[in-house]
C-alpha cells in the first residue's frame, strides 16, 4: 500500500526515539509531511536522518510547556490532518513508593501535556476533520505490576480519548487510542534485559512469547490515522501480543 498518507500533514510528539521515531519514519514513508516534536534535539536529528528530506520539520519542545501548542501552530505549513500524541514517560513503582511529586510528574507529561495538545488538535481540525491517536497503554486496562502513577495516567488517556470521540465525531474528528503492551525501545531495553520478572511476565507468559517492536505500534498508528479506519472512533486498539488476555505458561504443542 504505497503512499497512503500522501498530502497529509501530521504531528508526532515524542518523535525522537522508540515508538515516536518509528511512527515518524513510517508516516514520512507513506507520503505525509510530519512535524516531529521532541524535547531531545539529538533524538530528533536521529529520527529525521531516517526520513526523506522535505517530508518533515522538527520542533524541539517539551509537552509540559504550555507554550508548545503556539509553537506548533506556527510550525505547521497548512491544515492539520493527523495528531499522534505519543510523548510520555513510563516505569514507576508501587503506590507506596510513589510520592505526590512522582504522581504529578506522570500526570503533567502523560495527561496534562497530551490534553493541551489534543485541545489544540481539535481546534486545528474543526473545519476539515481529522484523526487524533493517543498513546494509552495496555496498563490502562490491566492491573499491571509496579506502575501506580503510570497506569493511572494511561487510564486517563484512554477515557479522555473516548470522551473526545463522542464530542467531535459529529464534525469529522476521529479520536482513538493505542494500547501497546511492552515494546522494546531505548527506554525499556535495559529493563527488559536486567529485570528477569519483566521477561517472565511479558515474554515467557505472554501469548505470542515476544515483546513488541516500535514498528508494531507504528503500523497500528498508521491504520488509525488513515482513512482505512474511517468508521472507527473512541476505540482502544491493543497492540500487545495478546497480553491483555492473561499470562499463560508455556505448553508444548
Amino acid at each position: 500500500m504505497a503512499a497512503e498518507l500522501n498530502g497529509k500533514i501530521a504531528i508526532v510528539t515524542g518523535a525522537g526515539s522508540g515508538i515516536g521515531q518509528a511512527i515518524t519514519r513510517l508516516f514520512c514513508a507513506e507520503g505525509a509531511w510530519v512535524l516531529a516534536v521532541d524535547r531531545d534535539a539529538k533524538g530528533l536529528a536521529e529520527t529525521l536522518g531516517q526520513c526523506p528530506p522535505g517530508q518533515f520539520s522538527e520542533l524541539v519542545g517539551d509537552v509540559t510547556d504550555a507554550a508548545l501548542p503556539d509553537a506548533i501552530r506556527k510550525a505547521l505549513p497548512g491544515p492539520l490532518d493527523i495528531l499522534i500524541n505519543n510523548a510520555g514517560v513510563g516505569a514507576g513503582g508501587m503506590i507506596e513508593a510513589t510520592s505526590d511529586d512522582d504522581l504529578r510528574r506522570f500526570f503533567e507529561i502523560n495527561v496534562v501535556g497530551l490534553f493541551r495538545l489534543a485541545r489544540m488538535g481539535v481546534e486545528l481540525m474543526k473545519k476539515r476533520g481529522g484523526s487524533i491517536v493517543n498513546l494509552a497503554s495496555i496498563f490502562a486496562e490491566i492491573g499491571a505490576t509496579s506502575s501506580a502513577a503510570y497506569s493511572a495516567s494511561k487510564g486517563a488517556v484512554a477515557s479522555l480519548t473516548r470522551q473526545m470521540a463522542t464530542d467531535y465525531g459529529p464534525i469529522g474528528i476521529r479520536v482513538n487510542s493505542l494500547g501497546p503492551g511492552l515494546i522494546e525501545t531505548p527506554l525499556t531495553r535495559d529493563r527488559i534485559r536486567d529485570q528477569a520478572w519483566r521477561r517472565t511476565i511479558f515474554i515467557d507468559q505472554a501469548p505470542l512469547r515476544r515483546v513488541g517492536q516500535p514498528e508494531d505500534v507504528a503500523n497500528a498508528a498508521l491504520f488509525l490515522a488513515s482513512d482505512r479506519s474511517a468508521f472507527i472512533t473512541g476505540e482502544l486498539l491493543r497492540v500487545d501480543g495478546g497480553w491483555a488476555m492473561g499470562r499463560y505458561p508455556r505448553e508444548t504443542i
Binding site: M1, I171, G172, F231, T233, R238, A244
Partner: protein, 243 residues
C-alpha cells in the same frame, strides 16, 4: 511467489463480498464461500473482471464434512475470514430454544469447526479474523443473535490463546450498523433514526469492515491477537450533545 490464499465465508454479498474484494485488491487469491452458489460465482466473477484473483465454492457452513472437503481442495490457507452468519429479529418472549440453536449452529458452532479444521492446515504467520458484532454489548429484540456474537468474542480470545504457539493470530471485528441489503430489508429499521445515533453521523458501509479485516490479516498486524475491534462509528460511546 505464489499468492497468499484467503477463504472468506458468506462472501457472496454484503460485508463478506466487500472483504473478498478488498483482499483480492491486496493481492490474495480469494475463495468466495457461500451457500448460494450462483451469487458466489457472480461475486468471484466481478472480482476477476476488476483484475483480482477469486473463485467461488458453494458451502453449507454447518456441514463439517463439506468444510473439510473445501479445505482439502484449497490445500494451503493463509487467511480465514469467518464472516458467514445469520440474523433475525424476535422478541425475547417469542424466542424458542430452536431459534437459539439454529443461530448458534451457524454463527458460532460452524465458526468453531471451520476454524479448527483450517488451523490444522495453517502455517506460522497465518491469520483468522472473525466477524463478531456490536451486538455483543447487548441489544434489544434478538437475544439469540446477541448471545451468539458474544460467544464469538469468547471463541476468538480462546482461539487466540490456543493458536498463539503455532504463530496463528486470531482477532475479531465487531461491526456496528452497516448499510447492507440485509439491513435495508429489515422492516423494523428506520435508517435515519439509526443515523442520528452515530457520533460520526453516518452508518457504516461494508468497505469499512473490509478495510479493518484487511489490516488484521496483513503482516503489519503481527503483534495483534485476541483483539475485538469495534467498527461502529462511535455508536457505543455515550450520546453527544452536538456542537
Amino acid at each position: 511467489m505464489a499468492k497468499p490464499i484467503a477463504l472468506v465465508t458468506g462472501a457472496a454479498a454484503g460485508i463478506g463480498a466487500a472483504i473478498a474484494e478488498r483482499l483480492a485488491a491486496d493481492g490474495y487469491r480469494v475463495c468466495i464461500a457461500d451457500r448460494a452458489a450462483g451469487p458466489a460465482e457472480a461475486t468471484a466473477d466481478a472480482i476477476r473482471k476488476a483484475g483480482g484473483d477469486a473463485f467461488a465454492e458453494a458451502l453449507d457452513i454447518t456441514d463439517e464434512i463439506a468444510q473439510a472437503a473445501l479445505l482439502q481442495r484449497l490445500g494451503e490457507l493463509d487467511v480465514l475470514v469467518n464472516n458467514a452468519g445469520i440474523f433475525d429479529v424476535k422478541d425475547f418472549f417469542e424466542l424458542t430454544a430452536d431459534d437459539f440453536r439454529r443461530m448458534y449452529e451457524i454463527n458460532t458452532v460452524a465458526m468453531f469447526t471451520l476454524s479448527r479444521n483450517a488451523a490444522t492446515r495453517m502455517a506460522k504467520g497465518a491469520r483468522i479474523v472473525n466477524i463478531a458484532s456490536r451486538a455483543m454489548l447487548g441489544a434489544r429484540h434478538y437475544a439469540h443473535y446477541v448471545s451468539s456474537k458474544a460467544a464469538v468474542v469468547g471463541l476468538t480470545r480462546a482461539m487466540a490463546l490456543e493458536l498463539a504457539p503455532r504463530g496463528i493470530s486470531v482477532n475479531a471485528v465487531a461491526p456496528g450498523v452497516i448499510e447492507t441489503q440485509m439491513l435495508k430489508a429489515r422492516s423494523d429499521t428506520n435508517l435515519d433514526g439509526l443515523r442520528a445515533l452515530q457520533p460520526l453521523g453516518r452508518l457504516g458501509v461494508p468497505e469499512d469492515i473490509a478495510r479493518t479485516v484487511a489490516f488484521l490479516a496483513a503482516p503489519e498486524a503481527d503483534f495483534i491477537t485476541g483483539q475485538i475491534l469495534l467498527v461502529d462509528g462511535g455508536r457505543s460511546l455515550g450520546g453527544a450533545t452536538g456542537i
